[in-house]
């Protein structure tokens, strides 16, 4: 963790709603509230893990930061150390400038590389756009990049089908690194990989982060991976952040019943740690019409009257002297149990 906490990315009231259109005139019938009011600070040099079940809006959040999905409302401030800018308000030209600093690694290494391009062709475009004119130089840079992700320089003239899944994911990482970004959004970057390969990529990501002084927003559904790689973890449920804390505190002093259930549901590969699963009833509600009050209340075992009517705000608490946010009316009581 960096000593002085410098904020690199600040989200304020971010909302991404997708309209559902119906009928002949394509009238907007309802909205899918994929991201529904998120406030979040990302500090420079940290890895912020973002976890949640499928459909909770974690990928949409990642994409909206890079402006791959336009936010409905709210602000995304990115601080590149010279000035702070709201990404939602930038025009195309300014965005080009900022995009250099923000990159993404996608989930599926098989579909995120164009099969008709060699690795060199796939990786040279960003370099061209950002002003490296000579081909010689581009080849050198890309060669260095491949070496830095533990691949061989000669491999740059091969096509994606000639690589295994782990290698393709490393090419994806190399592509994200090519124009020296500050912040990388890793969207389920290791989920599609086999376990032995997953470890290689995780280690690589950890090494690169230290070497290049990067900040990660690490989106995943796998809590064991998050624990390994993150400094802080944010848990999302139905478009909202329900808990945000330092990784140790989140696991040791959970302050939201959803996080508790999530943690207990994970099969742990440790025979001495077999614990009782908390079985949640039912499925995640539809983000089209989320339940009233606390979004988690229909599945929560400790649901009270207040939970059905009032939305609990994300409130700041402290555990072990670190900030710990939880959106539960009974957050402090969670600690006692």
């Amino acid at each position: 963790m960096p000593e002085a906490k410098e904020i690199i990315l600040k989200l304020r009231g971010l909302e991404v709603h997708f309209p559902i259109r119906k009928g002949v005139f394509k009238r907007v019938a309802a909205h899918v509230k994929a991201v529904d009011g998120i406030d979040l600070d990302v500090y420079r040099g940290e890895t912020l893990g973002l976890v949640g079940e499928s459909g909770c809006g974690k990928t949409t959040l990642g994409k909206s930061i890079l402006q791959l999905v336009k936010a409905t409302s709210g602000e995304i401030f990115y601080d590149d150390r010279t000035k702070e800018r709201d990404l939602n308000k930038l025009d195309h030209k300014e965005m080009m400038e900022v995009r250099k600093k923000l990159q993404i690694v996608f989930q599926d290494p098989h579909s995120s590389l164009n099969p008709a391009f060699t690795v060199f062709q796939a990786l040279e475009d960003p370099l061209k756009i950002y002003g490296i004119k000579s081909k010689q130089e581009r080849r050198k840079i890309i060669g260095d990049l491949l070496v830095s992700v533990n691949m061989r320089r000669e491999q740059m003239d091969l096509y994606p089908h000639e690589f295994s899944g782990g290698q393709r994911q490393r090419i994806g990482i190399a592509r994200a690194l090519s124009i020296e970004p500050d912040l990388i959004v890793c969207d389920e970057a290791v989920s599609a990989l086999d376990v032995s390969i997953q470890a290689q990529v995780l280690k690589l990501l950890k090494d690169i982060k230290v070497k290049r002084n990067l900040t990660y927003l690490f989106i995943t559904h796998d809590l064991s991976v998050v624990e390994y790689i993150s400094d802080r973890v944010a848990v999302m449920y139905l478009g909202k952040i329900v808990e945000l804390a330092d990784v140790e505190d989140l696991y040791a002093q959970t302050m939201h019943p959803y996080t508790k259930a999530l943690l207990s549901a994970i099969p742990v590969a440790d025979l001495d740690k077999k614990s009782k699963r908390i079985i949640l009833q039912g499925d995640v509600p539809s983000p089209v019409n989320p339940p009233s009050g606390c979004p988690f209340h229909p599945r929560c075992s400790q649901c009270q009257e207040i939970c059905k009517t009032d939305i609990p705000p994300l409130t700041r608490y402290e555990t072990n002297g670190n900030e710990h946010y939880s959106a539960c009316h009974f957050a402090e009581q969670q600690l006692e149990k």
């Binding site: 079940e53 290698q167 376990v195 290689q200 390994y228 742990v268 590969a269 949640l280 499925d283």
Partner: protein, 330 residues
């Protein structure tokens, strides 16, 4: 309770033939599935675990065949050699779905989108029982209810796209359980599901095991799932079983270098961010260019010249055996 073996597989070899090349997907695999126990088969993608399951169900694709070996189903009225049955013969079809049932990995693609859930569950009962139409309907509703699907009377008429992922998987299990099978083969049943839904499915499988004494063969790549559910474990690598034993044998005292490496390469929940994970170097070899001898040799730290020939299975205890020239000290 004595461990009663219900399916025994001996020296099974299943090969695939494409473009004049032969992929020895399963190359000599032996294990037993016991009544009321869960056998977990773990391994990475391409190690042959799903092919083993398809071999038992005789659901292999056209360009593949069981080359040699025995698959014996110890039914109540005598032993049946599954490998000797015709793939689509009467006998095999009467076993498939009634005595031996399978849950597939992806509930999105393994249900037929144009038939209602009720029809798809009922189909199994129609062929394997002499129930009347109304009885089939009642039984389908009951099955859905047992699987914890709310409003089963209404749900039974709905189509797969109206179900969520977890509910589809539960409908699949309902289908598999409809004829009270003796053996349930689950091929990565929860890989496509969220953890909270996964926990629900596991709870369900545990009940099946304890209430109906069903033998479960669970195929997975997740060591966590193994720890939670397994009684016995089979670890596969490139078409061979490298290690078998009870869950304690394999997880506490892994003696094959691959098992050990696999266990060290996964982050474990609750060990914090400073835990060491050791990736296994290299990648799994191309199945058409297999290394000679022990398949794990190119990635193994303990390999030497003896590893150029395939080691035999050696017993470490009555339950624990390993296929390695240099098993690790237990």
């Amino acid at each position: 309770m004595k461990d009663e073996v219900i399916i025994s597989v001996k020296n099974l070899k299943t090969f695939f033939y494409t473009n004049n090349k032969c992929n020895k997907a399963v190359n000599g695999v032996s294990f037993d599935v016991k009544k009321g126990k869960t056998l977990c088969i773990v391994g990475e993608s391409g190690c042959g675990k799903s092919v083993t399951a398809s071999s038992i169900m005789q659901l292999l694709p056209k360009l593949s065949r069981i080359e040699s070996g025995e698959i014996t189903y110890h039914s109540d009225d005598g032993d049946i050699r599954i490998d000797k049955l015709a793939r689509n013969g009467k006998k095999m079809r009467s076993l498939r779905g009634s005595d031996i049932a399978m849950i597939f990995q992806d509930p999105m693609t393994s249900l037929n989108p144009v038939y209602s859930i009720g029809f798809q569950i009922g189909e199994n009962l129609k062929y394997h029982t002499d129930f009347s139409r109304s009885k089939i309907k009642d039984k389908s509703i009951n099955l859905l209810k047992e699987m914890g699907i709310p409003l089963p009377e209404q749900r039974v008429k709905e189509y797969p796209h109206q179900f969520s992922g977890g509910m589809r998987q539960r409908a699949m299990i309902a289908m598999a359980m409809s004829c009270d099978p003796k053996v349930l083969i689950a091929d990565e049943p929860t890989t496509a599901l969220d953890v909270t839904i996964q926990a629900q499915i596991f709870e369900l499988m545990d009940t099946l095991k304890s209430e109906f004494n069903t033998a479960i063969m669970l195929i997975t790549h997740d060591m966590g799932v193994v720890t939670e559910l397994a009684d016995d474990v089979v670890v596969m690598y490139m078409g061979n079983i490298v290690e078998t034993g009870t869950v304690g044998d394999v997880l506490r005292t892994p003696s094959h270098p691959y098992t050990k490496a696999l266990l060290q390469s996964i982050p474990i929940l609750g060990r914090g961010k400073n835990q060491e994970i050791e990736p296994i170097r290299g990648t799994t070899p191309d199945p058409y260019k297999r290394p000679e001898g022990c398949q794990f040799m190119p990635r193994c730290d303990f390999a030497d010249d003896t590893c150029l020939s395939m080691p035999d299975e050696s017993k470490l205890s009555s339950t624990h055996s390993v296929r390695c020239w240099h098993p690790l000290e237990v």
